[in-house]
């Protein structure tokens, strides 16, 4: 998985490319801990180029949300395809992490 981190209007945007499965969830967690240490408070994960998420990926997102909440920040996700959005909905993770249709809307509403 490729992980690109950008900052737009004080929001940290994490752009993922590939699959969020077992190994890649560890990579995402490491990248996230780094940006948290650097002081990120508002983090948006862009899923436009993500084709698959397993339970390890969902667990990593929940952990990210918890750590950000503890730090007084928040986590959002955008550009999620229908299959992955379905996983967020059946597991009710969409009640913990706000999902935006696209990045522009996410950055505007965050």
């Amino acid at each position: 998985m490729k992980i690109l981190v950008d900052t737009i209007d004080e929001i940290t945007v994490v752009i993922l490319e590939g699959e969020l499965n077992v190994d890649d969830s560890i990579l995402l967690r490491d990248a996230f801990l780094k940006i948290l240490k650097e002081g990120a408070k508002e983090v948006m994960v862009d899923f436009e180029k993500v084709s698959f998420v397993g339970s390890a990926g969902l667990a990593t997102l929940i952990e990210m949300m918890q750590l950000l909440r503890k730090a007084g920040g928040k986590l959002g996700c955008c550009n999620i395809n229908n299959n992955i959005r379905g996983l967020f909905e059946i597991t009710k993770i969409h009640k913990l992490i706000t999902i935006y249709d696209n990045r522009a809307l996410a950055l505007k509403s965050f």
């Binding site: 699959e19 890649d24 698959f52 397993g54 339970s55 299959n83 996983l87 597991t91 009710k92």
Partner: protein, 131 residues
């Protein structure tokens, strides 16, 4: 069509193993949603077998048996562990469990597949997807 394969219980091998199995199931690419759901179920079942069944002992194999005919794909995943109480699984979407980091794998499988059964005290999970 039938695929019978085994892998050692090493988490870092799961992603590649799943990909190598999916590519051998004919015509699965034709329906994106079915492919996603079968991939998810296979992935989660193998992770459970490696982590919870075989306790990540690389000397213990996970066995996968996939059969496909015109109407369905049947997948069996077997581990060498002690089994588990599959009749009393915690519900991951209750408020008290919603933020837990584990416990969603079987729930995802049950939602992704049309039929899920257990055998041999929970050492075998049988998953069916109608085509």
């Amino acid at each position: 069509m039938r695929i019978l394969e085994m892998m050692p219980s090493q988490l870092e091998l799961v992603d590649g193993f799943v990909a190598s199995l999916l590519i051998r199931i004919p015509q699965l690419n034709e329906d994106k949603d079915t492919l996603f759901n079968i991939k998810l179920a296979l992935h989660e079942a193998i992770i459970n077998a490696v982590k919870h069944g075989n306790k990540m002992n690389p000397n213990l194999p996970v066995q996968v048996d996939i059969k496909k005919d015109e109407g369905q794909v049947v997948i069996q995943v077997k581990d060498q562990g002690d089994g588990f109480d599959y009749k009393n699984l915690p519900d991951p979407i209750t408020p008290e469990n919603l933020e837990k980091l584990n416990g969603r794998g079987l729930f995802l499988i049950q939602n992704a597949m049309d039929r899920v059964e257990y055998a041999d005290g929970g050492r075998i999970i049988k998953m069916v997807k109608f085509l």
